[in-house]
């Protein structure tokens, strides 16, 4: 336990996929997964998940999942900071399960509570005819891998249409970031230091 000389820092993510706004659709569920660089490794928690199906309330158009996220990463390098990829699915008019949106966002890096809203999008059909047939057959175009949306590579060939929003809430705790020279806390904020653990290092002072 070389806590005074750490070689990795930890990023603890705790939060939930609060809900989504898809004005036209109902009965959606979502999947999430994380995309991270080579230097990152999850130490605990769940990397992937599928939420329950939620329906709209009559008054508001919000879909609420409140689906928990809980994962801890360790890393040596902020390069490849984890991103969460959320993809939303739901039935179409014929009852086929089709994708309703993809979205990705970086995990916030400052400790504390964050609420993020991800705009969602879906790939477009290549032609009108394709669009029609895909609508008819309930096989909309999908990404081969939802993780594509977290990367820049290969995106230039796709056309997408925006679709809705997903709101996430993160509670971020980091450990040993500062010791490794990465100061992510805003200078003025004093509340952040509360959530930034500096466990086992009494000599460490700000």
């Amino acid at each position: 336990m070389a806590s005074s000389n750490p070689s990795v820092f930890l990023l603890m993510i705790n939060g939930q996929i609060e809900g989504a706004k898809f004005p036209e659709y109902d009965d959606l569920y979502c999947k999430y997964c994380f995309v991270y660089g080579h230097d990152w490794a999850p130490t605990s928690g769940v990397e992937e998940g599928i939420s329950q199906i939620t329906s709209k309330n009559r008054e508001s158009h919000n879909l609420v999942w409140n689906f928990p996220l809980d994962i801890t990463f360790k890393s040596t390098n902020p390069f490849g900071w984890p991103q969460i990829v959320v993809s939303v699915y739901g039935p179409d008019t014929f009852g086929n399960d089709v994708v309703r949106g993809y979205g990705a966002i970086h995990i916030p890096f400052t400790p504390g509570k964050h609420t993020r809203t991800i705009p969602m999008f879906v790939p477009e059909s290549t032609s009108r005819l394709q669009k029609f047939t895909s609508w008819l057959m309930g096989r909309r175009p999908e990404f081969t891998d939802p993780k594509v949306v977290a990367q820049g590579e290969g995106r230039e060939v796709t056309r997408v249409r925006s679709q809705g929003f997903v709101t996430l809430q993160f509670n971020i705790v980091t450990k040993d970031m500062k010791k490794l020279g990465y100061d992510t806390t805003p200078r003025s904020s004093d509340g952040a230091s509360v959530t930034s653990l500096s466990a086992g290092d009494p000599t460490h002072t700000l």
Binding site: P6, S7, V8, F9, H38, D39, A41, S75, T76, N77, F79, P123, S125, T126, S127, L129, Q130, T133, S134, M137, R139, P141, E142, F143, T144, D145, V148, E153, G154, R155, E156, V157, T158, L180
Partner: protein, 1670 residues
Amino acid sequence: MDVSRDSSVEVLAGGEEEEPAETLRRSLKAQRQRRKKKLLDETTVEESHSRAQEQRKRRDDDEEEEEEVGEMEEISEVRSIQRSRGRLEAEPEPDDESEMGARSFTRSPRDLPPLPMTRPSSSLSESSIRQRMREKLRAARSKAESLLQQEVAVEPASRLQSLRDRDTVTRFDREAELPELKQTQGGDPSEIAGKVKFREAVRRVRIETQRGTGLPTAEEAFNFFTFNFDPEPEEEPSKRRKKRRGRREQSEGEDEGEDEEDEEEPEEQETEVERERAGEEEGDEERDEEAALVREGEEDLFLIEQSRQDFVEVKKAEYIGYNTRVQRDGELLFTPSVRTVPASSKLPENMQPRYLEEEGLYVGERPVVTLTNENILENRILRQDQGTKWFGDDGRIIVLPDPIKESSTRPPLFHMEGDLDPALQTVYRKAVKSKYAKRYMPGVGDTQGDYQLDVDVAGLIFSHHGLFSREHVLGARLAQLYDQHLSRQHKNLTRLLTDKLSGLRNTVRNILELHDGQGLSEITQQRIAEYKQEVKITRQMRDAEQEKDRALLKNIVKVWKEMKALREFQRFTNTPYKLYLRREEVDRDLDEREYDTEILAEVSELQAESIEDYEKKVAEYKKQHEEWKSWKKKQKAMKKKKKKKHHKSQDEDEEEDEEEESEEELGEEPPKPDPPEEPDLEAVEQRVREKASRIRRKPGEPILVPELSASSSVTPNEQCPRAESSRRQDVSKRSLFVKVLYNDKEVSRTDSRALTADFRVHFGQIFNLKVINWPESIKLQVYETVGSTTAQLAEVFVPVPEPSILTGSATSEQLEFSSDQRVVFNHEGVGSDVPFSFEADGSNRLTLLTSGKLSCCVSWAVGEDDIPLAPPVAHASAGINSGIKQMDAIACIGASSLNDMKKLGKWAAESRLDPNDPNNASIMQLLSVVSGGEVTVPAYFRLEQLQEEFNFLSDEELDRSRRFRLLRLRSQEVAEFRGYKCVPALEREVSDKIFQDYEKRLRDGKIVDTKEHLDAHRALVAKYLQKIRESVLNRFLIAKHHFLLSDVVVEEEVPTIGVLGLNLFKLAEPKRPLKPRRKERKKVTAQNLSDGDIKLLLNIIRAYDIPIRKPQASKPSGAMKSTRSVTETFTAGQASQTPIQGIDWPLNQVVVRPFVEVTFQRTVLQTSTAEGPNPCWNEELLLSFSAPNGDYSTSSLQSVKDEVFINIFDEVIHDISEGDRGGYHAHIERHWLGCVKIPFSTIYRQSRIDGTFKVDMPPVLLGYIKEHNLASEGGYDIVRNLTEGAFITLFITIEPQLVPGDSMREKFDTEEDERLLLASEFFEKDATQRFPDRPCLTTVIDINGKTVFITRYIRPLNPPQELLDVSPNNAQETAELIARYVSLIPFLPDSISFAGVCDLWSTCDQFLTLLAGDEEEHAVLLCNYFLFMGKKAWIIIGNAIPEGLSAYVLTHEQSRYLIWNPSSGQYYGQYDTFCPLQNVGCLINADNVWFNIQMYDAPMRISFDVTKSKFWKPFFSRAFAHPGLSSVQPEDLVYRRTDRAAATELQDRIEKILREKIMEWRPRHPTRWNRYCSSTLRHFLPKLELSGGRDVSEEHRVELQSLLGEYRISGFPLHLPFSEIQPIIEAVYSTGVHKAEMSNVEFALAVHVHPYPNNVLSVWVYLASLIRTR
């Protein structure tokens, strides 16, 4: 107002509404009561009737059903009443009875269908009962119908309604009590009693439920459960029903005598239950039964739920009339009227609408809204609170003006290229610098950019004009002379020079006086000389001026005299000129004195000068004279010498020559100088005096000052002669004006002024020119107008003023002009360009041109606040490069074009520039900069000149950082670091070791390590391959990052019309459920796989022609030619071991017991053992596959080199009796028979391998013979021979199916003709369209990554001569030998070496150098050899098993086609069943490519005659002729001689390694080697090689037996091409010989390497295990 009215209406309507509703309800109630009573009466009647029936039934069983039906009918009646009671709202009820009857049979969705079919559990008897019952039911129904017909009973609501109501079950449940209570008030007493009882029953059930569940059930909880009620599964109720039915039949007998009332109640209850579950199924049950049911579980819940139906009240449908409904709707709904709202209601009270537009204010156009919509909106708004705030002053809705523009702002876009008329198309013209562009003065438009030029045209004076009279001419001349005089006078040069002269003289005198004529320093003397010179010049100038003055004066006087004479002569005066000569008296003495001193001074000076001059001349003379003298002397001396020499030695030529030369050297004789003359001082004085008298005023003579005045009167016109007066008239007709031209453009003109008699025109006009363009020329044109004609007289260029010349300070200039127009008059006017004379005789003629002086002034104006409106100086020189100036320090000061600063500096120093002159300020500044040396123009250009400032580290330092290096290498995807996990966070944690491998690899790039390879050459080749692979991989990596849409997005393909049509056709096909169909398996992309996900599925079906064990000696095979003794020794051993077998032998049953063992990635699975030479296993084996390093990416999977070994073994059971312990031990031994190798890459690429494969068997299998000789012999000898050997039928696939990687999409470079490439693309496309399964290949990629046309690879090439020499007479044998040679070149699929990137074709020489290649290289080489041998040969591109897409060689010999497998050396006839080639796509030879367009593609069914265009589509046809492609192959191949020593060495090494390996594989057992056997085997191997592995087995066996009689031996030789040691080890391992675990086993191993030319090695490994048999 409206609202209140509405509400009142509503109230009224409500009142009205209440009334009928109430009455209706009341009447309905009454009706219901009536009906109920009647029904009850009927029921009792029925019941009594039924009882009677029952009694009857007891007597007669047959009648039982009927009675029951009757009962049922009653019950249904009762139920209907109850249901209606439970409902409050009345509904329109069906009136006719048939409906009611039908209803009892119509099924609700939850009902069970009454068909017996649906109740499979019902027994036969029951069903028959039911059948009967149903019939009865039907009969009873008709009876009931007739009964009910009398009633006007209204059937309560449909079933559906009640079901719908159930949603709100709990509420109804509660409400149910109310109507019931109501009902009790007016109800029949008996009915009440029944109801009460029923309620009690309900309550009881409830209590029971509560008790049963044990929960303190709250009402909510109860409701909750009832709410969640689900329909029962179908069978349960039906079963129960049956049970009930059975019981009921029993109970009917028992409870016969029961009270009527008692019986009725439960019946009622029961019906309810039944109705809920199954509509028409009825049955009466007893309470105890029911209670039991209730207790069972959930039923009680819906029983309770059912109870609410009891409270249903039968009520007539409540009908609301249309009008009332409309009224009611009217209260609730608001339909805005479409009528226009009166303006008054939209405006506040007492306000008139105000129309802004009429008041003249701008009101935008309102957007178009239809009037109806607007009215609706207004009406709606008015209903709201504060509705009026939406309305404007004009009583209309406030609306913003229509934002839509009428016309689009953006002009429509045209596509310029295509459809435009050619005449309208834009043509590109290169930009031309406008002529005037750079004339713009910079800064125009700035604040101080107003430049103004003032042009002042004062007037003009003609010095000559055509209309001049003679007098005028003289007058003009006089005036001219006078002007001259005046100007000279003004300048007074004479005076100036005289003063200067006296000053100089004084100076000289002063100097001389100062020094007293002696001790003059050099400088002083010099200065005196200078002064004297100056004095001389000044004096001369003064003299000239004085002379001019005098001449001018004389001229004036002379002209005046002439003029006077002319006036007298012509007797009139035309000009007002009058000359006065003013005489100024002077002091005579003083004047004389001055004159004398002047002359004296001059004389003395002149004398001094002349003396000086003389002295100089004398000195020169003397010098010249001296020279001359010396020359003379020399000459004389020489002459003397000459003479002497002449006397001395006349003969000596040389000397003579010398003399001549010396004479020549003296050169020309200098002229003899004349002595200068003595200066004549007297003459000087004389001359001076003479001159003075000529140019100077005589002393004492008065100074004459001429004064010209215009005071003389001009003779009036009347007194003039006619000619003169006509001239004057002419003059008066003339007028003049001046045009001002700026930069050749007329900017203005003066007023036209009449020509005056004195030929002066005064304009006096000032033109202010605002200047934008830089002034280049200012021109004034003088025009003369005579009557209506205007002619240009002259043109005057005015110099552009300096910026310093400003209006006010500028002086007016006289600009002379003249015209060469010839003007002749017939009057007194002298004309222009016309000779005339003043003399009467016409002599002394004179020609004058029209000329004159224009007085004007051009200057820069001065602004209001005294700012000169002139452009700055700097701009005058360089107005263009203002942009550069800001950058360049040098250009800034206006010296951009100066290159050499030093030169400029030098010039500035030399020219003694005044540093204080502001004009020079810029230069001085520049010079100061230059001298400082600060500014140097850099010689390079930099894009980001500040980048260095921002680099926080130098690049070297960055490189030194290990961590950054690691990160960088990783991002570059360097093989060692690709996907490197967790780069340490700190520099110190990155150890240098990480880079060791990488650096080593970089270092070792060129060093070849021969240790790992057995052969130096192979090592080189491996290295080379590695390099090629790297380069190709790099290209692949680049291509990998290039995505297509299909890589990222999954999208369903749009079905084409053809596919759609086919599918439609399929729909119409009759369904054939028994016809099995192959379903497409789902393909899995490799990325999300992990270990264990992939399984290899092997289905081993059967084998043919497995070699059989050699029969016992008692039954010697006819084929055996062994000697008896040997056979006996061998078989004796066997016989002794297997008594059981011995028993079997007579039956000849167990000839072989083969099983199959599959080895893949060191996992071994085996099938069960079958029997006989044609075994059938039909077993499925599942092998798990794990990718290297757990990397399941496509590229990684493609590079898997693992092979699936399918080995066939014979299971031999030996029973060994061990005497010590007694009894028999069955010892199982396995003997390897053969194997099939299938590379994983093939399976992966093809995803499915299905077929019969030839088993690779050793040429010699000890103890086994083949059975083929028993089979009937075929017609073709060769074909039959080839079908020898065992075959195995296999089916292999990967589970789940993997998507094979795509080939690289990169377009390769090429040197081929574009047209050829297009044609080939088209050809291939066409081929795949017509026959998608047939491969078509026209272009391939060579080893350099370039696209090459395929026919270039085919060219006859010489095989090694040694091979040809082996059997020169037998072509067939030679061909086989060559095929064998080719097959010995190791096989290395491209897909493995290049990770599926692409298929590279190397040429034959490359192939032979690399000694590795895949099918196509082998095929090309073989084909080329065959062509060399004169065979007709083609390459076949087709699909084969197991390799998939492959290349074979086709030869045509003696009307027969042979198909050669180049990688095995085998050949097959066209009609060979076991030919691995499955289909043929195209044929290729050096000239053409033919694509198979026949119906079939199996080699057996096609014709190979390529000349038939019906069967084969040629690439090069008449339309597209063969362009004569040159071959990429070399002229001929050069082979290296075989190195036998190296082969022997290799042989030893292999043997050693194998020995070690075998011992290593047997870690628990000692491995003993039988040297004797080994050596025997070793001797045998070369024979095998020579024979090609055939025809020697028997002999060998015999030999072996004789040597090793007491051993049981099993073994075989393996034959392999040599590439590396690893495949050999693998092959040996797979045979499993080492697995023999008997304690007394011995091994024998022999290796033989046979070298072929060019280092092609054939390796034989003979492996045997021996067991001593005592």
